[in-house]
């Protein structure tokens, strides 16, 4: 008897054409809404570039600086998130696992977590200058605090039954950590990465306020000071699409690594 396989959800039961349509539907709806807002006159049409205008600008920039911008921004996000999560995992684990550490660090973490990265830019410039380090520092900051929260909650909700069981089987503390806690922490580490990535992309523009010449944030900043809204849109859409692509990749990896989880979705 094999359990855990409910009848397929409606979307899985449809053919591939129907599934493709379902995936495309929200984007098409967004496009339609975009055109509709322009047409309705709710907002001055000169303030809302048409989707096709944005597309042609995109193709134009692609020949020019866009790829370099994408590379610079993606690299900054990548490094910031990597370092941020690398720090967040052990810190989050310690807070989630040890009551004493939690009491000590929790208020501090929540204090700093609430500070918006933009507010910290002057300080970051003072301490880190205006180079790559400064920009990555902001992204590290944002990723770290996002990741810590996820890890703390994730570790905190590990059911004590597994620790109890492993003790009755003869495991020592090191074995409990390596063979029970770590496998149970993996899904939370992956979630921490996903959340940190989202926060980092959202903070990218702020970090690139620090005298950046290249990058999608810089692209948006420059274009906005010249009121080139179509370029601003290109920058925003690029950020969104790259973030989405990274998230989808991460979700695929999660499904593989955490196939053992009994989940609703």
């Amino acid at each position: 008897m094999v359990h855990g396989t409910f009848p397929p959800l409606k979307s899985q039961a449809r053919g591939p054409a129907a599934r493709a349509a379902l995936v495309a539907a929200p984007w098409l709806a967004l496009l339609v809404l975009w055109y509709a807002i322009r047409a309705s006159g709710l907002i001055n049409p000169s303030l809302v570039p048409a989707p096709h205008a944005v597309l042609s600008k995109f193709l134009e920039l692609l020949q020019d600086r866009l790829l370099l911008d994408v590379w610079m921004s993606t690299r900054r996000v990548f490094v910031g998130v990597f370092l941020g999560v690398l720090a967040a995992v052990p810190v989050g684990f310690a807070i989630g696992w040890y009551q004493g550490v939690r009491g000590f660090l929790d208020p501090l973490i929540n204090f700093f977590r609430a500070l918006p990265p933009i507010a910290l830019i002057p300080l970051v410039i003072v301490y880190f200058g205006i180079g790559e380090t400064a920009k990555v520092a902001i992204l590290f900051y944002a990723s770290f605090f996002a990741g810590v929260i996820v890890m703390v909650e994730g570790i905190g909700q590990i059911s004590p039954i597994y620790v109890k069981v492993s003790r009755t089987l003869g495991a020592n503390d090191a074995e409990i950590f390596a063979k029970v806690i770590v496998p149970l922490a993996v899904p939370h580490i992956l979630t921490a990465v996903r959340v940190a990535l989202g926060v980092a992309w959202a903070t990218l523009v702020a970090s690139e306020l620090i005298a950046a010449q290249q990058g999608l944030g810089a692209l948006i900043q420059n274009a906005s000071s010249f009121f080139q809204l179509d370029i601003v849109y290109v920058g925003i859409v690029c950020i969104g699409l790259i973030a989405l692509a990274m998230d989808l990749l991460l979700r695929a990896a999660t499904r593989r690594l955490v196939a053992w989880q009994d989940r609703i979705a």
């Binding site: 039954i161 109890k164 069981v165 003790r167 003869g170 020592n172 074995e175 063979k179 009994d262």
Partner: protein, 292 residues
Amino acid sequence: MSSQNDFFTSRVPALDTQPMVALPSFPVRLRFEDVAVDYPTAAGPMRVVDGIDLEVRQGEFVSIIGPSGCGKTTLLNMVGGFVRPTRGRVLLDDAPIEAPGPDRGVIFQEYGVFPWLTVRGNIEFGLRLAAARVSAPQRTEIVDRYMALMGLADFADHHPKHLSGGMRQRLALARAYAVKPEFLLMDEPFGALDAQTRTAMQDLLLHVLATEGKTVLLVTHSVDEAIYLSSRIVVVTARPARVRTVIDVPFGYPRDEAVHEDPRFALLRAHIRTLVMKEYEAQAKQAAPAAG
């Protein structure tokens, strides 16, 4: 020792004092010495166990039965090493029990099978620990044996999310057995199973005990289960738990379904049921004191 006829005519309370079977004099392995346990609550310490004195000998199968929330699980947790007594001592071979260990296997009510491991991975978990000192080929042999015994061989590479409740329970048993504990501590292990699976699991347990021999402490709500499986039944009072009575079960081992037909089974069941129901009522009165 009374003859069969005397049994039928003797007063029911005689069951408490007259063992029907002369137990072999195996050494006492577990001992509760005037054990009391308080749990800290918002309203001050709550006494859940009060003055338990009990001895368990090598090879016995002792069932602990009583109303819900009376402290039975606490008794098991003390032998398991998860709880220390507030007063008195719980001894294993005359040494106080300090921590859990592979000599005392526990079957938890919630199973606790490791979801990230396959069936095979779960069963061999204990064997891969430093404490086990088992070589790789030995490990495979042991795992295969228990998988086959529990009827899980077809699911060796499945994760627990694909297993039913009964299969997860079997997996938990196989995992506990694989490390060959001397003692088995079982907390209502069959409570969540349907009647069929429950009977099958009971018979499987008896079969394994017949082939391997362990000392078992079983906490259960089911009087039938207690009589069917045990050599001794401890009826525990409403909270705080005290020993109300200890009853020797007159059937030998190995046992099978036929024991249900033995007239003594029905008598025992009636007797124990009465005792347990009285404790249930006492517990209910505690929870809802009479008005006025």
